[in-house]
């Protein structure tokens, strides 16, 4: 068996998320289906992380195995030929069998894009979250700093796949000004189910004054999801890069 690693970009708007679901079309399912056609055997594709319904990626990573010999460039071309246009395989390479898209990942970078201007650019409408509230930049920066470091993020996790621990490290939580608004970039050693969107939800509520910054220590201490804000919408989120 030979193992391969691929990097993918997708617009998640029309999908139920990365992971194969009983109902709905998933990114993973589409790629597995295309691979099965080409390789002529069922082929499980293991992603670095599960992006939710409507979440995008410009640097999702996955691996798969096959005994079928093929020319890599050709497989890449055939895959993109079979896949819908909103899913693209950007690169494909053979890797050691010890490589695991999920377990070998050291860091992930997520980007959340907020559109502030009253009128949303129609060409960006699927990849931004429109939030017209006015934010205090100093306050946003203050909260972002607070997120950085190793914390128990239990208050920012939705019920989903069971995990051993809700402790994660965020190396960088940064605000980047952009056309129409700003982006929030999070680089961490791992992110729990809906964690980025939950962090953003609380961050924005504090940033606009709806919540007080004094809520933060309470959230981290109580580990109570119900005290934090609702998750920010999926459409603004993008998995930017997975580092190994």
């Amino acid at each position: 068996m030979k193992r391969y690693r691929c990097v993918m970009s997708y617009e998640g708007t029309n999908y139920c998320g990365w992971q194969v679901q009983p109902n709905g079309t998933s990114i993973q399912g589409e790629i597995e289906r295309a691979l099965a056609v080409i390789l002529k055997h069922p082929c499980r594709v293991m992603g670095a992380g599960r992006t939710d319904a409507g979440v995008h990626a410009i640097g999702q990573v996955a691996h798969f195995e096959t005994e079928v010999a093929f020319e890599i460039r050709r497989l890449l071309h055939s895959l993109n030929g079979l896949l819908p246009q909103d899913i693209r395989i950007l690169s494909l390479e053979s890797v050691e069998s010890t490589f695991h898209a999920q377990y070998s990942a050291q860091r992930k970078i997520y980007r959340y894009r907020i559109w502030q201007d009253p009128i949303v650019d129609p060409f960006l409408r699927r990849i931004v979250c429109h939030d017209k509230r006015s934010f205090c930049e100093m306050r946003l920066q203050q909260v972002l700093k607070y997120f950085e470091g190793t914390h128990d993020f239990a208050a920012f996790v939705n019920q989903g796949t069971p995990v051993n621990s809700t402790i994660r490290t965020i190396y960088r939580a940064e605000l980047i000004k952009e056309k129409g608004g700003f982006s929030l970039e999070f680089e961490g050693n791992g992110f729990l189910y809906k964690m980025v969107r939950n962090l953003v939800g609380t961050l924005l509520d504090i940033g606009c004054g709806k919540q007080d910054p004094s809520l933060l220590p309470i959230l981290f201490d109580s580990k109570d999801r119900r005290l934090a804000s609702a998750a920010a919408p999926a459409c603004g989120l993008c998995l930017k890069q997975v580092l190994y």
Copy 2:
């Protein structure tokens, strides 16, 4: 009657073009419908130019008239509230009754975007034309220079609305390098039906060597549409700006 001028941006993918058609949803139709709801009377919207099915705009201009008094900011907000998200009114202002979106226009700028890399960015797939042929930049520049000036563009006009004259002036025909490929920008005093796409079709065929540059004088002299290349696909085209 008071006259108003609006600037619009739209992703044309889902529309049969600017102009109201018996079958299909048009940009003009959507805006007229939204205006009729707000103003409570039928309202004709006159555009600066008719963009074809699938063609986009970031600076289309139109005018309309009404006797209903309203606050401009509020109307702008209500219009965008009623319109689908792929059509946005960017600005609205009252103008002299002598202003005419089409007849007062002095110049228009169209942009045609070509994606060259083998893999199309999924986030740009609706607004670029994928053309993997390899182009000689010097040749493209040579053809662009040839297009500039006042010419009879009869060989680049499709049958459509009858026109008095097929003579137009192109002030600027420019190649701009961009992520994944390049754009072609055309600034002229007016463009005939499918003219930009026809110019681009011929330009690219000459640029990749499928046609010889010596075809150009033949095209302009013969005025024969059948000698020119097929129109480039609609999805790459965008009405960038209308100058008054």
